[in-house]
């Protein structure tokens, strides 16, 4: 048998266990210890505004205890997810300078806590990213713009980012792909939840059919297309008497389960520092919504050695399965796929 090549670094994000944290059933420390006990690392991703009180100023005691638990468990900080709250004021958006300060505080704390990457999101223009470059370089933290449905690598906004990053060629500005960008269907567990909560069968059929129509048209490349699609979904929900939450259906359907071809990831792999292995639920050892064999083929072909967080998002609707079991199954599936492509996923520090 041929020797396997070194693959990506396995990991998880505390986002996968949001429901347990949100319901007060686990502290941040409880979750980290369970991640370590189950061997779901070594990579560990955290959302600052989720897990950490008073983010991005958590205080010396927190910093000390976080570093101590990383040392003790052998987990490795991979990505700190930071947020660009440009609309936090009602009277106006944050100015360019205010945004730089708002982001710099989070990037600097990511560095203090030992994270090599800060995940940033849309709201960041190429200009703001470029202005943050000195902050990133000084903190030695790479910035990864998340490409999340409904965006995709070939969406003009993302292309503009890529072109700027390539021009600057800094080694600090890049991307964090989210696998929810490249789906092939709606999650079976969501459909199950709809049935459990009395959504009429006709409405489910219409929603699934519409998703397929959007899929055949491909990922949207402009706002009006996305807006039109959301309106179509909301229209179906309203027709069946779910007017109060129609926008919610629209956000779910058009915001979570993206339509791009996994091959598009090839465009940006040279600028990928970290990855969100987004998934919505494992069924019989397979993830039916995000086509991992096709996605991981791109990662194998391009020799990606960065980190991948298994990012379970079925918790939004699924209150019956254990998120730690979900991550276990997802990581096992990815290890098997990568072995098939000749790679040994790194599961040790």
């Amino acid at each position: 048998m041929t020797e396997l090549k070194q693959g990506h670094l396995q990991g998880t994000t505390l986002y996968s266990y949001t429901r347990m944290f949100h319901e007060g059933k686990a502290t941040m420390e409880d979750l980290i210890r369970e991640v370590a006990r189950r061997g779901q690392g070594p990579g560990l991703e955290v959302i600052g505004f989720q897990s950490i009180r008073n983010w991005p100023n958590p205080g010396a005691e927190f910093i000390k205890s976080f570093r101590a638990i990383m040392d003790e468990t052998g987990l490795i900080p991979t990505s700190m997810a930071v947020n660009a709250d440009i609309g936090l004021r009602r009277d106006r958006n944050l100015t360019h300078d205010e945004m730089i300060d708002y982001m710099a505080a989070q990037i600097n704390m990511a560095s203090t806590l030992g994270f090599p990457v800060a995940r940033v999101q849309i709201s960041m223009t190429p200009d703001v990213m470029e202005a943050l470059l000195p902050v990133a370089e000084k903190a030695n933290v790479k910035l990864g713009l998340e490409i999340h449905s409904h965006h995709s690598p070939r969406h003009p906004e993302m292309v503009a980012h890529r072109e700027r990053y390539e021009k600057l060629n800094s080694g600090f500005l890049g991307f964090v792909p989210d696998f929810g960008t490249t789906c092939i269907g709606m999650p079976p567990s969501l459909i199950e939840k709809y049935r459990k909560t009395g959504v009429p069968e006709e409405m489910i059929t219409e929603l699934e059919a519409l998703w397929q129509v959007h899929h055949s048209e491909g990922a949207p490349h402009d706002g009006p297309t996305q807006g039109k699609r959301m309106g179509q979904v909301a229209g179906i929900a309203a027709k069946y008497g779910f007017g109060e939450t129609a926008i919610d259906y629209a956000i779910n359907h058009c915001g979570l389960f993206g339509h791009a071809d996994p091959e598009e990831w090839r465009d940006i792999m040279h600028l990928v520092w970290h990855t969100h292995g987004k998934f919505f639920g494992m069924h019989d050892g397979v993830e039916p919504t995000t086509p991992l064999p096709a996605i991981m083929k791109v990662y194998a072909d391009t020799g990606y050695t960065g980190s991948i967080s298994s990012e379970y998002e079925g918790f939004h609707w699924n209150n019956w399965s254990n998120p730690f079991d979900q991550v276990d199954a997802h990581q096992k599936y990815i290890r098997e796929i990568m072995e098939g492509y000749g790679y040994q996923v790194r599961t040790k520090a």
Partner: protein, 133 residues
């Protein structure tokens, strides 16, 4: 979707000296500035409450519902409760049941879809809760 079913639980309805209070968990997966709340509306036992009969309590501070959207330095942490106080003129009765329709709209300050327009998150729930002792 998103964490809607965690905003209220069976222990959420409490007594205050002049009415009832709902203990709320933020209906989103991260902490948000209180300014992210666009509006709150409550129907209590079939009666819609006037906005000035409610106030919002968080981090030891109290705000009128008019003031809430301007609190952009007050963070609602994921694991903390905020309280919607309903001022009814007299303390609620422990052990009594109330049917409440709770409606809250958030705007997510980091998800600007087009200039000045942010992705909303709307929770609309009707629940029957027992007043806790």
């Amino acid at each position: 979707m998103a964490t809607h079913d965690t905003i209220l639980n069976s222990k959420s309805l409490e007594v205050i000296p002049d009415g009832l209070s709902l203990a709320l968990t933020i209906p989103w997966y991260r902490s948000l500035w209180v300014s992210s709340i666009s509006s709150i509306a409550v129907t209590l036992d079939g009666q819609e409450l006037a906005q000035d009969k409610m106030s919002f309590r968080i981090n030891g501070k109290r705000f009128t519902l008019d003031e809430v959207p301007n609190q952009w330095e007050e963070l609602w942490f994921m694991q903390d409760r905020a309280y919607l106080d309903m001022h009814l003129g007299a303390a609620g009765a422990v052990g009594s049941d109330h049917t409440i329709t709770f409606h809250i709209e958030l705007r997510l300050p980091y998800m600007q879809i087009k200039p000045g327009f942010y992705l909303p998150n709307i929770v609309h729930q009707t629940v029957t809760l027992k007043v806790q002792g």
